[in-house]
Every structure is written in structure tokens, then in C-alpha cells.
Symmetry: C2
Subunit: 139 residues, 2 copies
């Protein structure tokens, strides 16, 4: 038999068979060919595409962003600028997210420093601060 079963490409790409079927359902990958016994059958190129998805996901792209990336990568009219825009926007999103988290972290650390960690919590400055609106405004 030439061609891979779903379990094989799944393993190659580092995802589960369920996930491969899920991606097919979502239209992220083409419906696979079938054997006589109705098993999905894949070619080497399918590993490439699936791995593309996996790597992009590891880079923080959502499935819908990956869909765009994939369609760009298969459209001969796509320019480098198109691709760069997508990755640049994603980078910007991640930068914003990091900024948000950093702000939150700082607030949390400040809160943590207020409290010496000894004794009963009835006068815990952390709880007090959550109960009063005194603390730094978020948003």
C-alpha cells in the first residue's frame, strides 16, 4: 500500500487522529482520499501541510489565522508583503498581550509586597485592597 493511514500522519505531525479528522471537518485540510475499505489515505505532501498547521499553532496562530496563512501560501498572487502583514499583526497582538499581562503581574506583585504573610488574614492588605477600590485601576 502506498499512502499513509490517519494514525501515521497524525504521529508524523505530532497531533492525534481525532485532531486530523477535526481539521478536515473544519476545512483546514482537504478531505483525504479513501481506500476501498473507506480508510482515509494520505500522501507525503499531507504531512507537510499538517506540520505547517502544527508549527503555526505552536507559534500562537489560531486555526482561523492558520486558514488565512494556508490560503495565502497556496495562492500564486500572494506577495511577501501579504504574508508579512499577517505575521506582523500577530506579533503585534502578542506584544499587546504581553503588555497586558505585565501590567497585571506588576499589580499582583505590588499587592503581594504589601503583605508580610504572617498572622491571621483579618487585616490582610491583599484582601483589603480587593475590597476597596483604592488599588490601581485596570483598563
Amino acid at each position: 500500500m502506498n499512502g499513509l493511514t490517519i494514525g501515521k500522519i497524525a504521529k508524523q505531525a505530532g497531533v492525534s487522529s481525532d485532531t486530523v479528522r477535526f481539521y478536515e471537518r473544519c476545512g483546514l485540510i482537504e478531505p483525504a482520499g479513501r481506500t476501498d475499505s473507506n480508510y482515509r489515505i494520505y500522501r507525503e505532501e499531507d504531512i507537510v501541510r499538517l506540520s505547517f498547521i502544527k508549527r503555526a499553532k505552536d507559534l500562537g496562530f489560531s486555526l482561523s489565522e492558520i486558514r488565512v496563512l494556508l490560503s495565502l501560501s497556496h495562492d500564486p498572487g500572494t506577495t511577501k508583503a501579504d504574508v508579512k502583514r499577517i505575521t506582523g499583526e500577530k506579533a503585534e497582538k502578542i506584544r499587546r498581550k504581553i503588555k497586558d499581562l505585565t501590567r497585571i503581574l506588576e499589580a499582583l506583585e505590588q499587592l503581594n509586597e504589601l503583605c508580610d504573610g504572617h498572622g491571621p488574614a483579618d487585616d490582610c492588605p491583599i484582601l483589603q485592597s480587593l475590597n476597596r477600590e483604592s488599588g490601581g485601576q485596570c483598563h
Copy 2:
């Protein structure tokens, strides 16, 4: 009438009425008292609790973490160390998340620098890199 309707405390705390009812369903806030006409009725202290939830959420706590925080804050046996442990763990989680995102961001920026952004994408280094396993391993 003394007491606030759901719309009023919702506004005071900066959430929607739906959200207040949702919090009640989840057990995050006690079932409110009722008027004769079955309207929920709240006291000033309820604004405090609801605002506590809102502020904690803005600090990145999940509802289940907030549940813990709230029960700690109402248990007289709670020590400052208990509270500090929760906020410290949360801070640590956020630090990890920031680290992850930073790693991803760096990979994305590297990818972005590979590409000059001019011309057709058929030889776009970003797409090429997503298609080959050469790029930096994630995880």
C-alpha cells in the same frame, strides 16, 4: 425602597445584570433577597462583594480562583500566608505565560526579519520556514 435592583448593583460594579445572575447561578455570590414582586434586591455590601469579583477578574483571576479567594476572605481561620500563597501562585502562572509568549514573539520576529516584504510570495522565507521543520523547536 431600601436596597438596590440588579441593574443598579450591576452598574455600580461595572458588569451586566446577566453577569450578576450568572454569578449567582455559579454560587459566586449568595442568592439575593427578593421583593414581593420577586425582584432580586441587594444591599451595599453586595456591591462590595461584586466589585471584589470584578477587580480580581481584572487582575487575571479565573472565577474558580476568585471563589477560593472569596471563601478565604470570609473564613476567620485564614492566615495572611494563605492569601499570599494564592496571589503568589497566580503571579507565578502569569510570569510563565509571559515567558511563553515572549518566546513565541521572538520566533515570530525572527521569521519576520527573514523576509524583506517585496515581491511575490512564492519564495517567501516565512512560508518556507513554516513548511520545513528547520525553524526553532517549540516545546
